[in-house]
C-alpha cells in the first residue's frame, strides 16, 4: 500500500481523496451544523415558551431574527445535516466498503464535492451577518417574499447580492452541486467497482437505497436549480420571473420547489432505511425479510415520488381536481414505504433479538416514524389539509418523520459502524443513557404540539399575543412543556459528545467483526487502512445469511464459500 510513505497532514486530513476521510469530513461537518441548527431551535423555542424574555446565551429575539432562525434551522437540518450525514456520509463510508473496493470511482471529484459543500455552509452561516440578516421567509422560499430580497428593498445590485435571500439561494445551489458530484460518484462506484461475485442482488440494501436516493435527487433537483437561477435573477438582477405585475407567476416556483421538495424527503429517508436494513438482521440473527422486494418497493417509490408534489399546495389555489389526483398519488406512495417498514418488523419475528445500542436506535426509529407516518394520513387527505396546513400539526408531523430519520438513523449507524471506522469502542452505559433520554425528550418536545396544531395554532409566529387562545392557557403551557423537552433533548446530546471524546482518547481496541455481521466491511481491519482490503474479497453469497440451517455459526460472511 502507498500508506508506507508519510502523507502530510494537509493531504491526509484536509484534501484527502480517501472515501473514509471524506465520509468523516461530511459527518463531522453535518454534526457541527446540527449543533448550529439545534442552537437556533433552542433560541426560538425558548422565545415561544417565554415570549419577550431575554434568552440565556443569546439575548432578546426580534421578529425578523425569529423568522430567519426558523427558516435557517429548517434549511440547516435538511440540507446541511440530513444530506451530508445520511447521503454523503453514509454513501462515502459504506459504498466502497460494502461492495468491496478500494475507493470511489472519482476520488478527486469526491474531495471537491466536500469542499464545495464546505463553502456552501460558510456562505449560509455568513448570511447571518449581512445587513438585514439571514433570509426569514420560510425554508420553502416562496416568492415574491424571497424575490423581493426580503429585507433589502434596495435596487442596488451589490446590496441585493449580499442580501440574506440571495446568499441562501447561492448556498443551496452550491450544496446541490456538491451532492450531485457525490451522487455521480456513488452511482458510478456502485455500477463499476463491485468486487468479484458482488452481483446486483448481493449488494447490501443500504447501498441500493443510497443509490436510489442519489438517482431521485438528481432527477428531481434539476428543475429546482433552474427555478433557483430564476429566483436569483429576480433578487439580484431585477427580472420578473415570479412577479405577477410583470407577467410572472409565483406559483411556478412552488411547483418547482415541491417537485424537488417531496422527493427530497425520500432522499433523506432511504439511506436511513438502508441502515435499518443492515442493523435489524444483525441483531435479530435473521435474514432481512423480503430483501429483493424491498429493492423493488424503493424503486417503485422513486418513480412515484415525482407525481405527488402538489399535495403541499392543496390550499395554494391550484385546481381542485388536480388536488384529487395528487391525493391519490400520495396514498399510493405511502404503500411501498409501509411495505418497507412492515418488512423490517417482520424481520424481528422468529429472530433471536439482541438489544444492542444500534438495535435500540433502529427500533426507536420505527416506533417514532410510525407516529409520523400515521399523522401523514391526516395531511394526505386534502380536505383535512385545508384545516391542518401550516399549523403545528404539520410541523409536528414532519418532525416525527425527519427527526427519527436524520438522528435515529444517524445514531443507529454511528453506534453500529463506529468501532469499524475508528477502531475504538463506545461506552455502553452512556450509550443507553443517550438513547433513552433522547427517545423520551423527543416525545416530550413534540407530542403535545399535535394538540396545538389541532387547535389551529399556525406556525412561524414570533409572538402569539395577537391570538388570545394561544398566548395563554393550555396551549401556552404545552409550548413551555415542549421547550423544556427540547432543551433537555439538546443537553442529552452532550452525553453522546462525551462518549465519543472518551472513546477517541482511548486505545484502539475494536475487533474486526464485533457484531458478527456478514457484509464485507467487517472483513476489513478496524479501522480499515487506505485501500480498505489487503486483497479484494470475493463474494459468494447474499448479504443476509444469518442462522442458515445446518451451519455451525449463525452467520455466513459474504466472502465465505
Amino acid at each position: 500500500m502507498e500508506n508506507t510513505h508519510k502523507i502530510s497532514f494537509v493531504n491526509k486530513y484536509l484534501f484527502s481523496t480517501d472515501h473514509k476521510t471524506i465520509g468523516a469530513q461530511y459527518t463531522i461537518m453535518g454534526v457541527l451544523m446540527a449543533a448550529v441548527g439545534g442552537f437556533l431551535a433552542y433560541i426560538f423555542r425558548y422565545n415561544l415558551a417565554f415570549p419577550g424574555q431575554n434568552i440565556p446565551l443569546f439575548g432578546a429575539l426580534g421578529p425578523q431574527q425569529y423568522n430567519s432562525f426558523v427558516t435557517i434551522h429548517g434549511m440547516i437540518m435538511v440540507f446541511w445535516v440530513g444530506m451530508p450525514v445520511l447521503l454523503a456520509g453514509f454513501g462515502n463510508f459504506l459504498i466502497p466498503m460494502m461492495i468491496g473496493t478500494d475507493d470511489m470511482a472519482f476520488p478527486t471529484l469526491n474531495m471537491m464535492s466536500f469542499w464545495i459543500f464546505f463553502l456552501s455552509a460558510v456562505i449560509l452561516l455568513a448570511s447571518f451577518f449581512v445587513p438585514g440578516g439571514a433570509f426569514g421567509g420560510g425554508w420553502t422560499m416562496y416568492p415574491p417574499l424571497s424575490a423581493n430580497g426580503y429585507m433589502v428593498r434596495d435596487p442596488n445590485f451589490l446590496s441585493a447580492l449580499l442580501s440574506g435571500s440571495s446568499l441562501l439561494i447561492l448556498a443551496v445551489a452550491l450544496e446541490f452541486v456538491a451532492m450531485l458530484m457525490g451522487g455521480i460518484n456513488f452511482l458510478v462506484t456502485t455500477f463499476n467497482k463491485r468486487t468479484k461475485g458482488m452481483t446486483a442482488f448481493r449488494v447490501p440494501l443500504v447501498v441500493w437505497y443510497i443509490n436510489i436516493a442519489a438517482v431521485i435527487f438528481m432527477f428531481s433537483v434539476g428543475p429546482l436549480v433552474a427555478g433557483a437561477f430564476m429566483l436569483l435573477f429576480d433578487v439580484v438582477l431585477g427580472t420578473g420571473f415570479y412577479d405577477p405585475a410583470r407577467g410572472g407567476d409565483p406559483i411556478l416556483f412552488q411547483h418547482l420547489f415541491w417537485f424537488f421538495g417531496h422527493p427530497e424527503v425520500y432522499v433523506l429517508l432511504l439511506p436511513s432505511l438502508g441502515v435499518l436494513a443492515e442493523v435489524i438482521p444483525v441483531f435479530s440473527r435473521k435474514p432481512l425479510f423480503a430483501y429483493k422486494k424491498l429493492v423493488y418497493l424503493a424503486l417503485l417509490s422513486a418513480v412515484l415520488s415525482v407525481v405527488v408534489w402538489a399535495h403541499h399546495q392543496f390550499i395554494a389555489g391550484i385546481d381542485p381536481r388536480m388536488a384529487t389526483f395528487f391525493s391519490i398519488g400520495t396514498i399510493i406512495i405511502s404503500i411501498p414505504f409501509a411495505g418497507i417498514f412492515l418488512s423490517f418488523m417482520a424481520t424481528l419475528w422468529g429472530g433471536s433479538i439482541r438489544f444492542k445500542l444500534p438495535m435500540l436506535w433502529a427500533l426507536g426509529f420505527i416506533a417514532l416514524f410510525l407516529i409520523g407516518g400515521l399523522t401523514g394520513l391526516f395531511l394526505g387527505s386534502n380536505a383535512f389539509d385545508i384545516y391542518a396546513h401550516d399549523t403545528y400539526f404539520v410541523v409536528t408531523h414532519f418532525h416525527y418523520t425527519l427527526f427519527p430519520d436524520i438522528f435515529f438513523g444517524f445514531f443507529a449507524a454511528f453506534y453500529f459502524w463506529f468501532p469499524k471506522f475508528s477502531g475504538r469502542t463506545l461506552n455502553n452505559t452512556l450509550g443507553h443513557l443517550h438513547f433513552w433520554l433522547t427517545f423520551v425528550f423527543f416525545n416530550c418536545t413534540w407530542f403535545v404540539l399535535f394538540f396545538n396544531g389541532l387547535a389551529g395554532q399556525h406556525r412561524r409566529i414570533h409572538d402569539y399575543s395577537a391570538f388570545s387562545n394561544f398566548s395563554g392557557g393550555i396551549y401556552q403551557t404545552f409550548e413551555k412543556f415542549s421547550t423544556i423537552g427540547a432543551i433537555c433533548l439538546i443537553l442529552t446530546q452532550f452525553i453522546f459528545l462525551i462518549n465519543v471524546i472518551m472513546s477517541m482518547s482511548k486505545k484502539k481496541n475494536a475487533v474486526k467483526n464485533p457484531w458478527e455481521a456478514t457484509t464485507l466491511e467487517w472483513v476489513a481491519d478496524s479501522p480499515p487502512p487506505h485501500g480498505n482490503f489487503p486483497v479484494m474479497p470475493e463474494v459468494f453469497r447474499g448479504p443476509y445469511d444469518y442462522s442458515v440451517p445446518g451451519e455451525a455459526k449463525d452467520f455466513l460472511p459474504q466472502n465465505q464459500q
Binding site: I184, N185, M218, G222, L224, A226, T239
Partner: protein, 189 residues
C-alpha cells in the same frame, strides 16, 4: 488502447463515460426545467410572440449550423483518437474550439444588437427567459471549449486519449440543448 486508459469494469461501460452520462442527465434536467417553465408561460401568454419577433432567426440559424458542424468535427477527433492519430486529433479539436468561438462571437453580436434595440434582461418576460437560457447555454459552450482545450493539450502528447471521447460527449450535449433552444426562442414567433 491500453487497459489502464479505458477501465472496463463490471457494467462494461468505462467509468468516465458512465459518470458523464449521469452528469449529462442532470444537466438536461436543469435545462428541461427551464424549457418547461418557458413553455408553460408561452402557452399562457401568446403575446410573447411580439417580443420573440425581435430575435434574429438568421444569426440563430447560422449558429445552429456552426454548432452542428463542430459536432461533426468532434466525432472526427474521436475517430482520430481511436487510431491514435495525434495530428488529426489536434486538428479536429482545434476546429471544434474555433467553432465554439465563432458561436460566441455571433451570440455577442446578437446580444449587442438586442440590447441596443432596448431588449434587455429586464425589459420583458420573454427576454428574461431568452437571456437566461442562452446565457446559461453560452456558459456551457465556454466550459466545453475549456475542457476541449485541456483535453487537446494532453491528447497531443498521447496522454488520456479516452478523454477526447468524453469531451466530445459533453460537446454533443451542449449542441443538443441548442437544438432545443433554437426553435423555441427563434423560430416560434
Amino acid at each position: 488502447m491500453s487497459n489502464k486508459e479505458i477501465n472496463l469494469e463490471i457494467s462494461h461501460v468505462p467509468q468516465g463515460r458512465l459518470g458523464l452520462w449521469i452528469l449529462i442527465a442532470g444537466e438536461l434536467m436543469i435545462f428541461g426545467g427551464l424549457i418547461a417553465c418557458y413553455l408553460l408561460y408561452r402557452i399562457r401568454f401568446p403575446e410573447w410572440a411580439n417580443d420573440a419577433a425581435h430575435t434574429s432567426t438568421l444569426i440563430g440559424a447560422i449558429n445552429t449550423i456552426v454548432l452542428l458542424s463542430s459536432s461533426f468535427t468532434v466525432v472526427k477527433a474521436h475517430e482520430a483518437a481511436q487510431k491514435r492519430d495525434y495530428k488529426n486529433i489536434t486538428k479536429y479539436m482545434t476546429i471544434t474550439i474555433f467553432c465554439g468561438l465563432l458561436f460566441l462571437v455571433f451570440k455577442s453580436i446578437e446580444y449587442i444588437t438586442e440590447i441596443h434595440e432596448g431588449h434587455t434582461l429586464v425589459s420583458s418576460e420573454f427576454f428574461s427567459f431568452y437571456f437566461l437560457m442562452t446565457g446559461l447555454h453560452g456558459l456551457h459552450v465556454v466550459a466545453g471549449m475549456v475542457t476541449m482545450l485541456v483535453v487537446m493539450l494532453g491528447a497531443r502528447k498521447g496522454e488520456n486519449l479516452h478523454r477526447v471521447e468524453l469531451a466530445g460527449m459533453y460537446w454533443h450535449m451542449v449542441d443538443l440543448i441548442w437544438i432545443f433552444l433554437f426553435p423555441l426562442l427563434y423560430i416560434a414567433k
